[in-house]
Amino acid sequence: MHIVTKFLVILAAILAITLSGMTIAYTSNASAVADALQTKENQLSASKSAVNELTARSGAEKESLIQKNSALENQISTLQAQIASYQTDNARLSTEVSDQKTASALHAAQVDEFTAIAQTYAEVNKAQSGEISDLRTRTLDMARREIELTDRINELEGRLQVAVETNRSLQELNVELRDQLDRGGNAISGATANSAEGTLRAPQNFTSSITAIRTDESGNVLIQIAAGTNDRLREDMKLMIVRGGWLANVILERVDENESVGRVNFLGREGVDIRVGDRVLPTL
């Protein structure tokens, strides 16, 4: 065998061994790379799914955020309008505050002035208080004297009233006596007896008022009072009609339980006005 042939055989063997090793390594690495590729593809697919899901979710969130953004923009515009309004109000209030400060300073000056005036008035009041105290003392003295004088006047008026009533009674008696004198001496004695026997004295402290007034056929005035036998009234009792003073006498002619009718005796006077509600008393 030629030396070249031998050399080629040896070289071919070496190359074959080398090629075998590289082929084994290549196929093994290719398998590992294929597995890794498959794993990566699976991960890629899962990642794509996740990405799609996240994309959808982010789209929804984006839509929601857009809506929120729109609402917030509206709120921002509203708030900006409010801010502008508040700024306007702030400027106006600042102006008012400035005015108020000026007015406050003016008022402080006025307060000082008023304080001085008040002190002056206080001093004046203090002086006037002394005078008022003196005047009050004098007034009390005068009031006391006035009360004493009033009591004195009332006492004198009471005496005068008693004197007037006494005078009026005397006038009545005078008129009755004059009437009796006109009818004659015998009549006077009969009338006196009649007056003494036929006219009864009414109970003390009795009081009533006229409830009705009428006139009979002969022109005599009859009155009705709201009192009767329950008030111990009897026929032929003599009462007096009073309104501020004596007006006339009345002789009871009919007495029921709670009402009575009497004839009015004006004792010769004319123009005397008897009214419903006038008081009826036993004596003056």
């Binding site: 030629h2 042939t5 055989v9 190359l15 090629l19 590289m22 390594a25 093994s28 590992a32 790379v33």
Partner: protein, 70 residues
């Protein structure tokens, strides 16, 4: 003595070896193996483990840890 290259008297004349058809076939086979080795080396270098150097085409990836150069 012929083992030492000596020509003994009366011995058959030694014939010199010549290249023949097998030499040509082996030459072609060697060329083919060289080409195959070159291609396998280049492609093996592509999927060889990272940082394996010149012996990358003959190196196998660790199980579960594939890291190629590119």
């Amino acid at each position: 003595m012929s083992q030492f290259g000596m020509q003994m008297p009366g011995a058959q004349r030694a014939r010199k070896a010549r290249m023949n058809v097998y030499t040509a076939i082996m030459f072609c086979a060697v060329l083919a193996l060289l080409t195959a080795n070159a291609i396998a080396y280049l492609n093996g270098s592509i999927i060889a483990p990272k940082d394996a150097g010149a012996m990358g085409p003959l190196t196998i990836h660790e199980k579960g840890r594939v890291s190629i150069a590119n």
